[in-house]
Symmetry: C2
Subunit: 202 residues, 2 copies
DNA sequence: GTCTATAGGTGGATAGAC
DNA sequence: GTCTATCCACCTATAGAC
């Protein structure tokens, strides 16, 4: 990924991180790469297609993380690995995490983009639902709606991660400390979710 | 709030909701209110001050919600009321919720703004820490670090709310359904947080 | 594949009339 | 308090030379 195509995408992520969608412009990207503003149009049809490409690269990366988590032998191990993969992705690729999970799709403001984004996000969610359903099917979790449990897990994880990435976690000085906190907190939720009447009453 | 000042702030919130920070412009606000672009400058010094005003109105509103939650008689009741206030604010003022809690402060890109935002957010967090500490002090919660427990509660709540506001909650058709889900999920987390060794091991 | 030149649009903000 | 006229900065995108 050291070609111009890859460098343009990296620069776009950087601009997003610094100033949000409003800070991304073809001219600024070009300036940072010592290119003329128009050179980018040889690599991407227009700005919309560039942003779609960033999005899709992000999802490719995220999918690789999730894919690796399927190596676990039992459903419970695979669910835990999925959580580890989600957290590792957030910490190792914070810029992608923000673009994929922290931008309201309406704010993208393009035709093709929101559909791509929604579809990909839904696919990721279904992956988690599958991990939960496996656990229910083999009896590790109580009977119930896998989607309901998956949403609670995703919500909890996303909340902690997004507060941390936005700098609202003054307690944690480093990623390792946050990782310990994340798992401690999530384990308690999982215990609550699986021990009791969560699935039925919701 | 039917004066021009209030209408400008409402319109700004609406534009943010539709297209994010990049969609907010003095000209668009003016057009929606059938004003000339420059009329707004009689009410706000410039765009930065307008955005700060939106932020501060949002925090005034949020603070009113939290304030009402202090009416509870016991620490536990007040903590629960604070959660109810947080959720009601998110559902009744979703545009403010997004502006206050879902915009990375770097993306605001002004001098005065990020400090205002960070300070106000921190004050809201300290309010939650106080509610948790009360519960610990009277013995309803185990001994331990109130900030740690507060972060877990806030993270969980924020995660669920932001997924819901971003439309990722296909299971819940209406606010009432989401409210039930929210409390069911949060109650399980609270049980886990208070029953076991969460505070010590994190 | 990269450049310059350029068209056409949107934006923030000021000056001065009413 | 609102208007029009205006300035200047920045943006996306195209055409055509190298």
């Amino acid at each position: 990924m050291n070609d111009t195509y890859g460098r343009i995408i990296e620069t776009t992520k950087g601009l997003y991180h610094e100033g949000g969608l409003k800070a991304i412009s073809m001219r600024k990207i070009a300036a940072r790469l010592d290119l003329s503003a128009t050179a980018i149009y040889r690599h991407f049809q227009n700005k919309e297609h560039l942003l779609i490409a960033v999005f899709e690269e992000g999802f490719k990366t995220f999918t690789r993380y999730l894919w690796d988590s399927l190596a676990g032998e039992t459903p419970i191990e695979r669910l835990r690995s999925a959580g580890e993969a989600y957290l590792r992705f957030a910490l190792e690729e914070p810029l992608y995490y923000q673009v994929l999970f922290m931008v309201p799709t309406q704010h993208l403001g393009y035709e093709a983009m929101p559909e791509t984004a929604q579809e990909e996000l839904h696919r990721a969610f279904l992956f988690l639902v599958d991990r939960v359903r496996e656990c229910i099917d083999e009896g590790s979790f109580r009977e119930g709606d896998a989607e309901t449990v998956a949403v609670a897990i995703w919500g909890h994880s996303h909340g902690l991660v997004s507060l941390y990435l936005n700098g609202h976690f003054q307690a944690c000085e480093c990623d390792e400390e946050f990782t310990r906190f994340f798992w401690n907190s999530l384990d308690h939720l999982l215990r609550g979710l699986t021990d009791e009447s969560f699935v039925e009453s919701s």
